[in-house]
Point group: C2
Chain length 332, copies 2
DNA sequence: CAGCCGGGGTAATACGTATAACTTGACGCG
DNA sequence: CGCGTCAAGTTATACGTATTACCCCGGCTG
């Protein structure tokens, strides 16, 4: 009634366990005659044999499994990062397991053990870096996603060209004549957002005005933040730069509630280019972040690190997608 | 340079490996004196000892890991299912690993092995049921999510009360005076959607009209489907029942492109209650599906099955959330 | 004082696999 | 004919843990 082992297959086929392992391992060509190999394979499938991965992992000292640490999977961006990472992993016979509920809601007394599998390496989003040492991931090969290249020492880095993205946003808005800006920024403290904020500040030349409001990354918070910011009609911003499409969508909505038309009275930009960006009306002008590619490169980097190859790559380029939420600055 | 084992801890502490295992296992109270226990624990942390999970899994014959099979994590609904399942799992010292890229895009020659970990059980969404036997999951304890209770024999089931959800939609729209309906249905063949379609057909009494258009679950497809359906001004539907918020959002957009106002000229309803539902304008009237609870109950069910306890529970209730995308049927 | 008990620990083992090291027969070749 | 070679397997072992069965010794009891 219990699952058949390689030894069961061996006795059933009248060979030794080693032979079974050799055949099914598909290495060592010529070690086993084609005739017995076929016999072994046939009995294996007949018995429904599945290798015990725990045993194999123990023997090989490697699980071919990576841990992906992200804040929340319900954020489409990170779901896509996972997808990309899992794809590349599968191509190399690797698996990807997620660190559950790092948002702090879950219990996970021993978060490392809760991954249940021995791990070969860790890919961590900077937005979840605080969880890293609790995981014990600092003792494993590590790849950081979107984190300060100067900070995390030896770890490999996969970064998006956030500053350049912000440059594109700024130039686009300046060309449209905007001079008074509001930065609807994430309340999360991370390299990602810091870099953007810094880029925005430096790129906006003299003769411009910039206010910043920090808000959690939810549409509701965006709305209340907006209502406060747009209250005064005179001197109010004409362009809202949001750190996130969700914020941007919330901003558009708040604007309309306040009787402002987008983009005629107010331009709004986002980041990420989620499905949401084209679902709302007007469709969002936003910086497209190739999330899948982040995951892919993260996994590629980890594989390189595991092989001892030093890995480095230029920042992943991002591109502004101009849609309908931005337009010429109002005449006043 | 290699990771310390329990034996390393043992020699360092001057005890036997068995003692280390006993202490760190925290069972068998009284088997070890408090003094040596403290010594062992101290050396363990000093050496940075982490138990080798592959070895433990092999020894115990169980990995405390479940496989969750879903179509795509980028769909917020399934991301939330995962979150719920992972939470309950963590509470019981279990892990959840995802079946990567079952949408067929990925390579995954041996999808089962690509889970990399030996598994204790499987939780499978019916929308990915076709992948099940390829995974070999049919030989493991199985919990089915939203699948035909009559179909999958012995497996435990966790179902949403889809028919009741559709009933609420129908009654809401009928009460608003609608008589001509369009069902924007998913192109995917599954119990979920079949149940809804059947419920809709039976609930709409005489004197009503129902057309059905099947479409992939993307906003773009929804739009083209809509444009075809609404082309003829006379006899066009006044209420659009969508199988999904994404479809609903697409439908709203298409309607506006065609010069129809929502909800004045056209009512639209969705399913799921994703974040999208409140991000678009008008906010969607939609059937709220407690996705997290699906994941939680799925995991709970699996845990019960693993203990040999027969598990059964009533369908998870769903509730219509009335927002701004539905209104009285237009006069004509 | 012998016998027994139990606290506190240890030695031994099995889990299922991959692979290194060894065996065996057949065969070719000098 | 004897030896090296090679194909085709097999035997043995280790991976690191959890747990069972055992052991030792001090103290209590009859």
């Amino acid at each position: 009634m219990t699952r058949p082992t390689s030894r069961d297959v061996a006795t059933a086929a009248g060979v030794s366990q080693a032979t079974v392992s050799l055949v099914l391992g598909d290495k060592w060509p010529g070690r086993v005659s084609e005739r017995t190999a076929a016999l072994v394979r046939e009995t294996a499938t007949r018995l429904g044999y599945r290798p015990n991965l725990a045993a194999r992992n123990l023997r090989l000292g490697s699980t071919r499994t990576a841990l992906l640490v992200v804040p929340a999977l319900t954020n489409e961006f990170f779901a896509r990062v996972y997808t990309g990472a899992a794809r590349v992993a599968a191509e190399h016979g690797f698996g990807v397991v997620l660190y559950p509920s790092p948002d702090g809601t879950g219990p996970a007394r021993d978060p490392f053990a809760s991954a249940r599998a021995a791990l070969d390496g860790v890919i961590a989003s900077s937005m979840a870096a605080h969880a890293l040492h609790a995981i014990g991931g600092d003792t494993l090969p590590l790849v950081m996603l979107d984190s300060d290249p100067r900070a995390t020492g030896s770890a490999a880095h996969v970064n998006l060209a956030m500053a350049d993205g912000m440059r594109q946003v700024t130039e686009h808005l300046l060309a449209l004549g905007h001079r008074r800006f509001l930065h609807l920024a994430s309340a999360v403290d991370s390299w990602t957002f810091d870099t953007r904020a810094e880029a925005l500040t430096t790129l906006l030349g003299p003769g411009t005005e910039l206010r910043t409001v920090r808000s959690p990354l939810t549409a509701d918070d965006a709305r209340t933040a907006m209502e406060a910011a747009l209250a005064a009609p005179q001197g109010r911003p004409t362009a809202i730069v949001c750190d996130d499409d969700i914020l941007a969508a919330g901003a558009c909505k708040a604007a309309r509630r306040l009787g402002l038309r987008v983009p005629e009275d107010l331009s709004v930009t986002g980041f990420d280019d989620l499905a949401l960006a084209t679902a709302v009306e007007p469709e969002l002008t936003t910086v497209h972040l190739p999330a899948e590619r982040v995951g892919e490169q993260g996994m590629t980097a980890l594989l390189a690190v595991l092989e001892g190859t030093p890995w480095t790559a230029p920042d992943i380029p991002v591109t502004l997608v101009v849609r309908d939420s931005t337009g010429p600055a109002p005449a006043v």
